[in-house]
């Protein structure tokens, strides 16, 4: 019985030797496999699960509105927005308005200009800055949205927005559109028709404007130099409204 421990003592040391060797070999192998010019970050960036679906961070969706082509009194874009998103179309202070037509006038010359006004989808959105719950957020592709699951209806964003682009839903709603959930007690605004953009289509206002033959609104990727909107922004003088705020808006205007 006393011999058993003496014979068994060399065995554990042999096992630890083997384990140590295996550990060193595995580390060395891993080092060799990862070493030649391949870093973990590149592997992570190289193959997203599904490159087609979801908001692409390389894209910045934007709109270019040519106010010289925008006729005073024309509300095709507003009507299309209301129809697409299931808005009532009312203009009372308690009605939601995602896009509205405004008239601007130069005081000295008296020249008037008509243009649509909606969420400008800022790169530095004040509504996101002030939101206490994180409900107001900017998507990876630059679209500024409200997550109504998190929104508590405090309306800080309504106050913070320099463009008066956000609305609050005061009364309970029914018969919402399946693609556009809206509900009482939450803030909402232009979504750039995100459900259509995710399908590869243009927003409803853009489609309506071009279908009516005005063609005053161009929608596209501001980050892609080959896109129509980027070419126009590069060749024409465009303005952002309230440029002094340095919000880098996604909606740009010509002729104001």
């Amino acid at each position: 019985m006393k011999q058993a421990p003496t014979t068994s003592t060399p065995q554990p040391s042999g096992q630890t030797d083997r384990r140590g060797f295996l550990g060193v070999a595995a580390a060395g192998l891993a080092g060799i496999l990862l070493a030649p010019g391949v870093r973990l970050i590149e592997i992570a960036q190289a193959a997203p699960a599904n490159p087609v679906t979801g908001a692409n961070p390389k894209v910045r969706w934007g709109m270019l509105i040519d106010s010289t082509k925008c006729a005073s009194g024309c509300t095709d874009c507003v009507t299309a927005c209301n129809t697409e998103n299931g808005l009532s179309g009312g203009t009372l202070p308690t009605d939601s308005q995602w896009i509205r037509k405004i008239e601007i006038k130069e005081v000295k010359t008296g020249k008037t200009q008509s243009l649509p006004m909606m969420c400008q989808h800022c790169a530095e959105p004040p509504c996101v800055d002030v939101c206490p719950t994180g409900a107001s957020f900017k998507r990876a592709d630059g679209i500024v949205l409200v997550d109504k699951h998190i929104c508590i209806g405090c309306r800080y964003c309504v106050m913070a927005c320099p463009y008066k682009a956000r609305s609050f839903v005061h009364e309970s709603l029914s018969n919402q559109k399946p693609d556009v959930p809206r509900g009482m007690g939450t803030v909402e605004g232009c979504t750039l028709c995100v459900h259509k953009v995710d399908r590869g289509e243009s927003p409803a206002c853009v489609q309506a404007c071009s279908a009516a033959g005005h063609g005053a609104i161009v929608f596209g990727d501001l980050n892609n130099p080959e896109s129509e909107i980027s070419k126009r922004v590069a060749s024409y003088a465009t303005r952002q409204i309230r440029e002094d705020l340095n919000l880098d808006t996604g909606v740009r205007y010509i002729g104001i």
Binding site: R139, H149, L173, P178
Partner: protein
């Protein structure tokens, strides 16, 4: 000696209580039919409930309407317990990541489970979502914002109506746990 024998001889009619007024006696006798009727009513109630149920189970079950499509995205037993987690996960993916048309989207649930009669998941007390949530006493606020009816024009194959016989069979299968 005559006094102890008196109860034995008049067992059917109890002896008049000494010192009890006629009114008290009357009330004591009125109590017997009241209790009897209570037992009778209870019996009716229990009998009615057990009769209304299926012979295999005495536990009442919620009405589950047949879905329009053939096969759910997961096993019905799994969906019954985990659909809320799947929906919440999908909701964040869709809202923040822009991932649409995924497997567990509420929109596709509604396309398939909207009632054949009301074309909604909440319009009638027996409609798919409201029926179970009423039974489980769970209040959901999904439909304060989300549409309860499928889109008018849908590209999804699930929303195609199936023959009445097969959908009924599916509904019956779903009722059983």
């Amino acid at each position: 000696m005559a006094h102890p024998q008196a109860p034995r001889s008049t067992r059917a009619a109890p002896p008049p209580l000494q010192g009890a007024t006629p009114a008290a006696r009357q009330s004591r006798f009125r109590g017997v039919p009241r209790f009897g009727s209570l037992v009778f009513l209870l019996g009716l109630l229990i009998g009615g409930v057990t009769h209304a149920d299926s012979p295999t189970s005495r536990v009442p079950k919620p009405v589950i309407e047949a879905a329009r499509g053939g096969q759910c995205v997961e096993d019905p037993a799994f969906m019954r317990r985990h659909h809320m987690e799947l929906l919440k996960h999908q909701r964040d993916d869709t809202m923040h990541g822009g991932i649409r048309g995924a497997k567990y989207s509420l929109k596709t649930c509604i396309e398939c489970h909207a009632s054949q009669t009301t074309n909604s998941v909440t319009a009638a007390p027996t409609n798919f979502c409201v029926s179970c949530h009423t039974y489980a006493a769970v209040k959901i606020d999904c439909f304060e914002c989300h549409a309860t009816q499928p889109q008018k024009t849908s590209s999804l194959p699930l929303a195609q109506p199936v023959p009445a016989g097969s959908s009924l069979q599916l509904g019956q299968q779903q009722v059983k746990p």
